[in-house]
């Protein structure tokens, strides 16, 4: 399973970012290989509009299965995510990436 997080930093200890399209980083954890890939989201972040769909596209193109984020993606990003089978979990606010992952594993995060 590949699990994506919207984050403020580049590590497991970094804080989760509640926003989706304008997140600072996207971390993708590959459970099978136990690797963490980091995407700097500076390009989409600078868009006046339409940052959400751009981030959604990155997730799809990287074969992500699960997305864990804070407020939840906006309408346009959801349209894009619907084109895949990515499961979206929201509510991961004010916690580290690690905590968010544990919460997800313990089924403590709401399905968006």
């Amino acid at each position: 399973m590949k699990i994506a997080f919207t984050t403020k930093g580049r590590e497991w200890q970094s804080e989760m970012e509640p926003r989706f399209g304008r997140t600072d980083y996207i971390l993708i954890y590959d459970e099978d290989k136990d690797t963490l890939i980091i995407f700097d989201n500076c390009e989409a972040k600078s868009h006046e509009h339409g940052a959400g769909p751009t981030v959604a596209k990155i997730l799809i193109e990287n074969g992500v299965n699960v997305l864990i984020t804070g407020n939840g993606p906006g309408g346009n990003a959801i349209e894009v995510l619907k084109k895949s089978s990515i499961e979206v979990y929201s509510g991961a606010i004010e916690m580290s990436v690690k905590e968010a992952y544990d919460k997800y594993k313990n089924k403590k995060l709401p399905r968006f």
Binding site: E48, G50, P53, T54, I60, E61, G75, N76, V80, K83
Partner: protein, 288 residues
């Protein structure tokens, strides 16, 4: 004649002035009240009337046609608004981001993005006993207020007779929706209040009217004698003060009920008549 009622910020009493002035003018004139505050059209809350017609308003957006598309992604490249996205051999269109510039549609080598009309709001036409009210209302989540304002004005233009007075209740602020709303009016009434906020926002509004080269005057709402900085500013800038609507809790109570205030307040009526006289003098000047 077209008169815009505008202000630098919300809550100064634009709508109150619009509906009350329109109602007073309607005693002797044919009046159209036009609610162009399309994000929050509120004028109808103050007037009882019958809905005459309701028209959906559209904007043009591209629609992807799969058959002819070669997936060259030229459309995605030319869209400055990120309203198109190519993913897994599919082009997605995000209508709320589209500004209807037609670039994607017309620059597509295989004509795979024809433009279609999509509803973005509604124009409503109400008939009151003494006047007519036309409002534009943007659908929730839509962002292109400018286009709906322009379409609402076009609707009004078709109905206006030579002697009709049209009162445009404008959106607040100084950004593009306001500019669209006041673009073709003959005169702008800026509503403010005698407070530091009122003054700050009035200055922005005055700056805007000067850039647009629109003639304008000021109405001071919630007037009392406590803060004279707005008056000092108007005097130093040579701006005419058309009227002063008094500050009174009784008026706030009337407003809260959605009632017209000039019926119950002589002083308000008298101030509105001053504006009415001023507007009449404008028409005379125009004719001369």
């Amino acid at each position: 004649m077209k008169i815009a009622i505008a202000s630098g910020k919300g809550g100064t009493g634009k709508t109150t002035l619009s509906v009350n002035l329109a109602s007073l003018l309607a005693q002797k004139n044919s009046v159209f009240l036009v609610d162009l505050d399309v994000e929050e059209p509120n004028a109808k809350l103050f007037l009882a009337g019958e809905l005459l017609s309701e028209e959906p308003k559209y904007k043009m957006i591209p629609k992807w046609s799969e058959e002819s598309c070669t997936f060259c992604q030229k459309c995605v490249e030319v869209c400055n608004y990120h309203a198109l996205l190519g993913i897994a051999n599919e082009i997605l269109v995000f209508p709320n981001l589209c500004h209807s510039c037609y670039a994607c549609s017309e620059l597509c080598p295989t004509q795979s993005l024809p433009m279609f009309a999509q509803k973005m709001g509604t124009a409503r036409h109400y008939v009151m006993p003494d006047m007519e009210l036309i409002e534009g209302e943007l659908d929730l989540g839509e962002e292109q207020a400018v286009s709906l304002i322009s379409q609402t004005k076009t609707y009004v233009d078709k109905l206006l007779l030579k002697d009709t007075i049209a009162i445009y209740d404008c959106p607040p602020g100084t950004s593009c929706p306001v500019i669209e709303a006041v673009k073709d009016v003959d005169f702008v009434i800026l509503v403010t209040e005698p407070t530091p906020f009122g003054l700050n926002d009035l200055k922005l509004a005055v700056e805007t009217m000067r850039v647009l080269k629109k003639p304008f005057g000021v109405v001071v709402n919630r007037y009392d004698a406590q803060d004279d900085r707005v008056f000092a500013y108007c005097e130093s800038e040579n701006i005419e003060i058309l009227a002063k609507i008094p500050n009174d809790k009784a008026l706030a109570v009337l407003y809260s009920k959605g009632a017209l205030i000039y019926h119950s307040s002589k002083s308000v009526k008298c101030e509105l008549e001053k504006i009415s006289c001023f507007l009449k003098s404008l028409t005379c000047k125009e004719r001369a």
